[in-house]
Amino acid sequence: MAVENTESQMRKGLLELCILGIIHTHKEAYPSDILEQLKDAKLVVLEGTLYPLLTRLKNAGMLTYRWEESMSGPPRKYYALTHDGLAFYEQLRKSWEELSKAVNHLASI
């Protein structure tokens, strides 16, 4: 079994939480901001994986967006959490904290 495969599955699962977290802290975020933040945190993702994820979250009612004109190119979509999105994020965050606590506890035995 390849460790890369397991790693990439783990990363994918947590990406949603990370994206919601970034949008939450910044109130509003543009996809390239999100990528920049992920990169700073050494969580390497392909840009192409972000767009479908954002659209899915938006269609599920977790995110809204507004357009903003940009100097360097086409207008940009700025995403923000909806009321549902905030509850969803807090729930995910809680489960992650419990999970990571459990994993750390088990791994340190």
């Binding site: 390497v44 993702v45 392909l46 192409g48 994986t49 479908p52 659209t55 269609n59 360097s72």
Partner: protein
């Protein structure tokens, strides 16, 4: 010689070389098929087109007369190959191909082409900037040969203390092996720009700066370590 054509992407007019246009068109077509079973397919493709237009605009603003094939390849590397994006949404491919059977080329075929494209690029040797003690040489070598980085580090360390060649070999490897920068390079440890003298000297400067920081950190850690021992 390449013919330059004008295309309209996300409302922007972009001058682009003809073979580069073919490449980006194929890429978008493949993506469209891949997301065919998704509810938000049109929107996802639109977002990606917007991003492509933005990346192209940045390139043109920096003085390029037209987008060429290398630019397109870079953009695709940033966004990710359809094959890499594909496994994040399981069954998208199979349902996509059944919808588009009437097209001249099925998505299965296009997907196979992409895989081939990936394979021809093959695996390459890179230094891994996210797993390094000094320059990431050992972890890069380890990724290349599918072994544990610790083993490679041990060999280098033994060579350095035993014969003295390990240290020199490491420095040379540090200079000649490029660092993996894009997610694609990191994923495959493949692709990237060929080394020329200019990038080599530039890299040396960056690495020396980085090494300085790491050395300071390391000496601090060593101090802490010894002061704890006493």
């Amino acid at each position: 010689m390449q013919r330059i054509i004008q295309i309209n992407i996300a409302g922007r007019v972009i001058p682009i070389e003809e073979n580069a246009y073919q490449l980006i068109k194929d890429y978008l077509n493949t993506l469209e098929r891949q997301f065919a079973s998704e509810d938000g397919q049109e929107e996802i493709i639109q977002d990606i087109e917007n991003r492509i237009a933005e990346l192209f605009s940045i390139r043109l603003q920096s003085g390029a007369p037209a987008i060429d094939k290398t630019d397109v390849e870079k953009v695709i590397a940033t966004l990710g190959n359809p094959s890499d994006l594909h496994d994040s949404h399981g069954s998208a491919k199979s349902s996509a191909s059944s919808n588009t059977n009437n097209n001249s080329q099925s998505s299965e075929q296009q997907y196979a082409q992409w895989q081939q494209y990936q394979q021809t690029k093959g695996r390459r040797l890179y230094r891994n900037p996210y797993d390094k003690i000094l320059g990431g040489v050992c972890s890069g070598l380890a990724a290349y040969f599918d072994v544990d980085p610790a083993v490679v580090r041990l060999i280098f360390a033994l060579l350095a203390f035993g014969l003295g060649v390990g240290f020199l070999a490491y420095i040379i490897a540090w200079i000649v092996i490029p660092v993996a920068r894009t997610p694609e390079e990191l994923n495959n440890m493949s692709g990237g720009t060929p080394m020329d003298f200019h990038t080599m000297t530039q890299n040396m400067g960056d690495e020396l700066q980085d090494l300085k920081k790491r050395a300071e950190q390391m000496s601090k850690e060593l101090k802490d370590f010894f002061s704890k021992k006493k």
